[in-house]
């Protein structure tokens, strides 16, 4: 998107630039167990965003001085492939990628039962293959599925979606123009079964009423995504049972 003028985000017919209704999610695809070497892995596609994630561990930590006596150390890297964006991105980590790695690690740590693996490490790697709004949330979900795929016990699967405001309308699951030109961007990640939020950020402007409305919309979106995640895990589980 190289136009410098703000486009109309909500068209006359009330639909968004990609033809979705304000409370409609982008099409999603999930798959787990996609890599052979990794202990757990997944691919998630959310609209045009595509992420691959892999988990190694729990394993003995090297170097040893990083070991924590009562719990596992989680190491997370979020990285964008140079060809994932419109302009080529340098492969060395940017400040943005470093921040996102930290935000994802903290969200992920709140879901993993880290006390079960003292003095060990769990390594989580995410690669953005295509970036088109919502990469941090898609990466977090991909990571969460990969962790479950690795057989690591977690409190809950993480489901996440961004809500925001575009041309005065509260919209679900922002696309790239809405992310860039909208009035607010509010990514939310949750562990729905235990009703805990483990990631929330916002940039932009919202009134408290709009915020409440946005959070409600996000919860509904998250529930739909959560069910899809369960379906993905279930189909793999059944496949596994048939094999054995």
């Amino acid at each position: 998107m190289s136009q410098n003028q703000k486009p109309k985000l909500i068209l006359e017919n009330g639909l968004r630039t990609d033809g979705r209704k304000p409370d409609e999610l982008r099409p999603m695809k999930m798959e787990i167990g996609v890599l052979k070497n990794a202990d757990g892995s997944s691919i998630i596609e959310v609209g045009n965003t595509k992420i691959i994630a892999a988990v190694y561990g729990p394993k003995e930590i090297h170097p040893r001085h990083l070991a924590l006596p009562g719990r596992a150390t989680i190491r997370v890297r979020y990285h964008m492939m140079p060809f994932s964006t419109d302009e080529r991105k340098s492969p060395s980590p940017s400040r943005r990628e470093i921040e996102i790695s930290k935000v994802i690690r903290e969200a992920l740590e709140s879901s993993i039962l880290v006390e079960q693996f003292p003095r060990s490490s769990i390594d989580v790697f995410m690669e953005v293959i295509q970036a088109d709004a919502g990469t941090r949330l898609a990466s977090l979900m991909a990571a969460s599925l990969a962790v479950v795929d690795a057989g690591i016990p977690v409190k809950d699967i993480i489901a996440a979606v961004a809500v925001g405001k575009a041309d005065g309308v509260i919209v679900l699951d922002l696309n790239e123009p809405e992310d860039m030109w909208g009035e607010a961007d509010l990514p939310v990640a949750m562990m729905p079964s235990i009703n805990q939020v483990n990631l929330i950020q916002m940039n932009g402007n919202l009134t408290p009423e709009e915020f409440k409305q946005a959070i409600d919309l996000a919860s509904r979106g998250i529930q739909t995504i959560y069910n899809m995640e369960k379906e993905t895990l279930k189909s793999k589980y059944i496949e596994f049972k048939e094999e054995s």
């Binding site: 190289s2 070497n37 990794a38 892999a54 790697f125």
Partner: protein
């Protein structure tokens, strides 16, 4: 500084004798014949934001290559041709012992070997990547990411690079009076490719030679030799990996084995990429 690697897998060492016994009977432990290549599968356009991309599976080895074009000034010594940059990264996703961070010696060696094969074969017609002679040319960035490491990533990387390049379209150019405008949003001509190039790796275990070693075999190889070929059977790059040695006779043997394998892979590539 380059250091003798440690933390290698010891399983292949234990299995070495039984692998050699199998080879005596003309079969490998993975069930392949000595000169049999693993099946290749190519998915073009896997990364939609790249100007061209390909996901290549060589057995369980998975490699993703993406091509990006950037407008740049030409180098002073080559004012009338575009630039090519190849970068291979061994992602920490791909294997237990791979760490995040800048490319290590293995990744850099891979990048340079793939780069030389593409460049010296004249597989890409760099002279057609000029927008305005002496002033504006295309830089072709070929980024190759190893996602799953199951041996012989070099051959897979060359295939991925070639497939992604064949998948690439240049941005559209528009003549406006004296100047040429680049319209990035619209695709124009295909990447000026002359022909594909392939790399074939032959490993040596004891006195036996095997084509396309998998990860367990790589663990016990004495050494391996990789040779790149064009469709008219020109050799356009050689690299020897590993600590062991070849005799001159063995090198001759390797060359003829690799040449025969290259013809098959090129045929497979032409079929999957739909090129003549």
């Amino acid at each position: 500084m380059s250091v003798t690697p440690s933390n290698e897998n010891i399983i292949p060492l234990i299995k070495k004798e039984s692998m050699l016994v199998s080879l005596e009977h003309g079969i490998r432990q993975n069930g392949r014949k000595p000169f049999e290549y693993r099946p290749i599968s190519i998915t073009l356009g896997y990364a939609k934001k790249a100007d061209g991309s390909a996901l290549v599976k060589l057995g369980d080895t998975t490699v993703l290559a993406g091509v990006k074009l950037e407008e740049e000034q030409p180098f002073e010594d080559t004012p009338n041709q575009g630039n090519l940059v190849v970068n291979v990264e061994l992602l920490p996703l791909a294997y237990e012992t791979f760490e995040p961070g800048p490319p290590d010696e293995n990744a850099i060696e891979l990048s340079r070997v793939v780069d030389r094969s593409l460049r010296d074969s004249k597989s890409i017609d760099l002279t057609k990547l000029v927008i305005e002679p002496g002033k504006r040319v295309w830089t072709v960035w070929v980024d190759i990411y190893v996602l799953d490491y199951s041996g012989n990533v070099l051959d897979a990387s060359t295939i991925a690079a070639i497939a992604a390049l064949y998948d690439t379209k240049l941005p559209k150019l528009l003549q406006e009076g004296d100047s040429i405008k680049v319209i990035k949003e619209e695709k124009g001509e295909r990447m000026p490719m002359n022909y594909p190039v392939v790399t074939v790796t032959v490993g040596k275990i004891g006195k036996y030679l095997i084509v396309d070693p998998d990860i367990e075999e790589e663990g016990i190889l004495d050494t391996r030799l990789s040779i790149s070929y064009t469709p008219d059977k020109r050799m356009v790059g050689i690299q020897k990996f590993g600590i062991g040695t070849f005799s001159m006779q063995e090198i001759d043997q390797v060359e003829s084995i690799a040449r025969q394998a290259s013809a098959k892979i090129l045929e497979e590539l032409k079929k999957q990429l739909g090129i003549g």
